[in-house]
């Protein structure tokens, strides 16, 4: 027990910590390499005007030196980004201040829309591709060509479609914002492929045993779908969902840079192009993007591992009530065994 704890501490705490420290060290080294003498001289001059030189040349402390690097070192980056992180949900339109939290929520909302659209599109297409050879032969080549297209390439096409779509919807009394539509379209079309392909693979991989059962029981097409094809494909679909979500989050940053509306991508670009630029906040935004992406992926893989437990949830819940013994089923066990089958 004790050795287990020690192993855990070493494997899961100490080693990642060492890695993070080494990475920070590398960051300092790179930062030091971008030191600019000109900036330093200027800062020294400024400092001299403000303060009288103190004995021991206190104003030549490392602070000024680190402020003269092009790439801000970690502590400088934090200093520059701090205000966005200290008040993440403050919106002050007067001086254009918007906390990083608000920007992240904007991005997540947009991703949710595009991702939802892509799933709604991908699952039926995946089932058709997996179920019909004809369909595969017809559309597989087109998909293979469209799949590697970058989000940056789709964005203008979405813009092209935005105008007629907007006009059409306006006659129906629905208002859309072109830029938002452009982002949603781009996210949807870029993240649709993994779900389509995985669903199709899942449909093709349904064990012959289950198909035989369906045939012997003479299940109707609908029952065959709900009771056999759909649950059997579910684990594959969730793999697709996870990959698609990853792509959605990858695409959003590019979209927001192009759309220039709001969101972390926009924030990052804005920090880079600002006068003066705020490189620290830019780096902060990069870390936020990474962190959110990581969290999304973890959440999805947790779902992925427990798909069938999710499916069995109503029954398990019902049984829990019936027996007043909620932990009767090890949900993970159900999922593990089904994914093996």
């Amino acid at each position: 027990m004790k050795t287990k704890l020690l192993t855990f501490l070493r494997e899961a705490v100490l080693l990642p910590l060492v890695g993070a420290l080494l990475f920070t060290g590398l960051w300092y080294v790179v930062s030091a390499l971008t030191f600019e003498q000109k900036t330093y001289d200027m800062l020294v001059k400024q400092q001299a005007k403000v303060k009288a030189p103190v004995a021991g040349q206190g104003w030549l402390a490392p602070g000024v030196w680190w402020r003269s690097t092009k790439l801000p070192a970690p502590h400088r980056a934090w200093h520059e980004a701090e205000k966005y992180f200290r008040e993440p949900f403050t919106n002050n339109p007067d001086d254009g201040f918007r906390g990083i939290g608000l920007e992240t929520i904007d991005s997540l909302t947009l991703v949710a829309k595009g991702y939802l659209a892509s799933i709604l599109l991908a699952v039926p297409i995946g089932f058709m591709l997996g179920g019909s050879k004809l369909f595969t032969r017809m559309f597989d080549p087109i998909m293979q060509v469209l799949r590697p297209v970058s989000p940056l390439a789709w964005f203008p096409l979405a813009g092209l479609l935005a105008v007629p779509l907007k006009n059409h919807l306006q006659t129906q009394g629905i208002k859309i914002e072109s830029l938002e539509w452009q982002c949603v379209f781009t996210i949807a079309i870029c993240s649709v492929w993994p779900t389509i392909l995985n669903t199709a693979v899942g449909v093709r991989a349904i064990p012959q045993d289950y198909i035989n059962v369906a045939r012997v029981l003479r299940l109707s097409t609908w029952k065959r779908f709900t009771k056999i094809q759909f649950p059997a494909t579910l684990p594959y679909m969730f793999t697709g969902f996870r990959l698609s979500l990853g792509i959605s989050w990858l695409v959003i940053v590019a979209c927001e840079m192009l759309s220039g509306k709001s969101g972390v991508g926009f924030f990052l670009w804005n920090c880079y192009n600002g006068t003066p630029p705020n490189y620290g906040a830019m780096i902060g935004a990069i870390l936020v993007i990474g962190g959110v992406g990581f969290a999304l992926d973890r959440a999805m893989s947790l779902l992925e591992k427990n798909v069938h437990a999710l499916l069995a949830l109503p029954a398990i819940f019902g049984r829990g009530i019936a027996w007043i013994r909620p932990s009767a089923v090890n949900a993970r066990e159900v999922a593990r065994v089904t994914s093996r089958a």
Partner: protein, 269 residues
């Protein structure tokens, strides 16, 4: 009355020079309520034979007939118990069975469907596990569920594809006894495919050996004259038992030797 018939069936797989003729000229007639066991070597084509009986495969030549008419596509009327259970892992025991029952008894209300399911769940002694999932059950229990699923649809013939061969010896014995009890109680015609001659003798009214493959065919039938209900120990010590077992095994080994000689001769030529 003849319930299920195979008439000069042949079936092969593969293309061109890779083609192997698995079954050739297979004839079988199963009467209503009768228990037929087909005994053969592994790989002789036993599963192919049961798939043909179930309608999961179509024969290359010949015909499968049910009550005198061409049998056609699979129907719940010909129940199947698969060797590897084939339970749906995302459904509980009860739901696995209910899926089939609902399909067959469309005019039943929910309460009646549940009654029907529970009747067969208790018949295979699984009353305590009806809400469990297949992954929570042992192999023997899973095969009981599979058996209950097939029985609950009240088929006129039940096709058992080596239902017990994946189980350990002790569980196997228990399930053999239960199968004997159920077949006695239900009066459903059963076709059992097995590689265990003792199992066949314990359970069947008559035994038909499947000769060694390729081009396997059904041999002469051996009626089992041991009176029912058969007790395992009594059946084993019955004078007919040893003779029957010897005859069946010597038939099977002779077909294998003949097949090997034929293959060797072909190789030499």
């Amino acid at each position: 009355m003849l319930l299920l018939e195979l008439k000069s069936i042949s079936k092969g797989f593969g293309q061109g020079s890779l083609r192997t003729q698995v079954l050739s000229d297979v004839n079988l007639a199963v009467k209503a309520g009768e228990f037929v066991a087909i005994v053969g070597y592994s790989g002789a084509g036993k599963t192919t034979l049961i798939s043909l009986l179930a309608g999961l495969l179509l024969p290359d030549t010949g015909e499968v007939r049910m009550r005198g008419k061409p049998a056609g596509a699979p129907r719940p009327d010909r129940g199947v118990v698969f060797q590897n259970y084939s339970l749906l892992p995302w459904l509980s025991v009860l739901d696995n069975i209910r899926l089939g029952v609902k399909q067959v008894f469309r005019d039943f209300d929910d309460a009646r469907i549940d009654d029907q399911c529970n009747k067969y769940i208790s018949m295979v002694n699984l009353g305590h596990a009806s809400e469990k999932y297949p992954s929570e059950l042992s192999g023997g229990m899973r095969q009981r569920v599979s058996l209950a699923r097939a029985l609950a649809m009240q088929p006129s013939v039940l096709l058992l594809d080596e239902p017990l061969s994946a189980l350990d010896a002790l569980t196997r014995t228990t399930l053999q006894d239960e199968l004997a009890r159920i077949s006695q109680a239900e009066q459903t015609a059963m076709v059992l495919i097995t590689n265990d001659v003792d199992e066949a003798i314990l359970l069947a009214d008559r035994i038909v050996p499947l000769s060694a493959g390729p081009q396997a065919t059904l041999g002469p039938e051996f009626p089992v004259g041991i009176p029912r209900p058969r007790d395992r120990r009594v059946a084993a010590s019955h004078p007919a038992h040893g003779k029957l077992k010897r005859e069946i095994i010597s038939y099977l080994t002779s077909t294998r030797a003949a097949k090997r000689d034929a293959l060797l001769a072909a190789g030499v030529a």
